[in-house]
Symmetry: none
Subunit: 272 residues, 2 copies
């Protein structure tokens, strides 16, 4: 709203009331005594409306949180830890939806979301959860009886597993590691990280995955890192929700938990 709009509105209000609310003093304005009194009264009333609106919107007993989550993050990070959150907040009910797209909150029932992206959402609150570093992973079975992989170039001897709409990831990683001319390599494409990881675990090839999201498979030896290189995607997972929207206590509980959990993991990783 511009100063011009404010000036128009003040003029209209003074005309409507038949009372001068401001005294014009050269290039300044000052409230008149009636203006002071009116301000106090109206401010109080508007504060009450604001308070009542906040109370009504933040329904205290709304224990449901609707979450739209990037699928890889959902299945590989969140779901395994959900029990920890529930044990801390037993009365909160998370309603989880996997979605690869970045929903538009205006046309959605979702309360919060986990986006994978660059964090450029001016209309949203967003909290960094974790940066994404992609590393090549494959089944140990893939390498049995095969020459060891010692360089990025050696990766090309195998099937590269891509994820739809993220074709550039492999190319970026290879280029960063000295492989400049990449011919049409043998490959296959899946529509999601989960599917790609599943295929990799079956020994169908090598895919790229965020180390943190594949850590359980890596721990159990279902997947291994055949080469110690990684790609900084310049993208991250973020917790996002609408600006200007009061959070229920359940939403706050979830936000606080997930940020704290990420910090705890971050500390653990730094100690290793």
């Amino acid at each position: 709203m511009t100063p011009s709009a404010v000036s128009h509105q003040i003029k209209a209000l003074e005309s409507f009331l038949g009372v001068q609310l401001f005294e014009r003093i050269k290039r300044r304005v000052a409230l008149t005594p009636p203006g002071e009194r009116y301000l106090l009264a109206i401010q109080s009333a508007l504060d009450e409306i604001d308070e009542a609106t906040k109370k009504i919107v933040t329904v205290p007993n709304s224990n449901i949180v609707n979450l739209s989550v990037a699928p890889a993050f959902l299945t590989r990070w969140l779901v395994p830890r959900i029990n920890h959150f529930q044990s801390l907040s037993p009365d909160v009910e998370l309603r989880l939806t996997a979605s690869m797209s970045q929903i538009d909150f205006r046309y959605s029932d979702m309360d919060m979301a986990v986006f994978y992206g660059d964090g450029n959402w001016p209309d949203l609150h967003y909290h960094l959860l974790r940066n994404v570093h992609l590393v090549p992973v494959c089944s140990p079975k893939l390498l049995e009886g095969k020459p060891p992989i010692k360089s990025a170039e050696d990766l090309l001897q195998h099937t590269l597993i891509h994820i739809s709409k993220r074709d550039t990831e492999w190319q970026s990683l290879l280029e960063q590691n000295g492989v400049n001319e990449i011919e049409n390599t043998r490959g296959m494409t899946f529509s999601s990280t989960s599917l790609a990881l599943g295929a990799a675990m079956e020994g169908l090839g090598i895919t790229l995955a965020d180390r943190g999201l594949a850590e359980r498979e890596l721990e159990y030896g279902q997947l291994i890192c055949p080469l110690d290189i990684s790609l900084d995607t310049q993208k991250s997972f973020y917790l996002v929700y609408q600006k200007g929207r009061p959070l229920t206590e359940s939403m706050q509980a979830f936000r606080d938990w997930i940020l704290d959990e990420m910090q705890t993991e971050q500390r653990s990783l730094q100690q290793l």
Copy 2:
């Protein structure tokens, strides 16, 4: 504002709040518990705004009352009594304007008015001041050396004085008193009651006047009633002012005085 507009606004508010305020029960709506709570809080706040606005608008020290008054009423009833009002409310300044038309307050600086009419003004507050009964009046000089006036028909032997735009008054009076065929009688027309009364006092003819407005002239013998008949015009003088507009203390003082004065006069008349 139509039900349709209300429905739209309720829908928008519920969407904005993310809370259902009304429960739709077939063809009825009922407030939900959150709706009840919100209503109480918002109603209270809006009442405060309304109160603050009323207080700010009713500037306590505005001692001026602008009045637009039907001319006959002004000159013949109000002006003679103005001193009484001033003695009771010495700090109130009445600014009086004579106007035969019924002003439109939206386009006028007037605070209050005295209208002559039928009292059908739905957008205004109106208080009955007095009913208007017209009686024929003339100067005693007119009748000197002439046959006495014993019936309505005898009135036709004299010049009838009309007031512009109120031509039907004479005709109505005569018809009500048995004079059915009225030829084009000799007459003259003036633009106001005051002028007509002035002409009657000069012996130019007989005019119709409200008994109360001509009472001083009748008292002093400047005018007499040549025949004891009267016309109920179905119109009255009313004090009027805008609905929804807070009255200053001066306006209230004037309203209370004039209504009280009229009641006092009414009692006096009834005692006679």
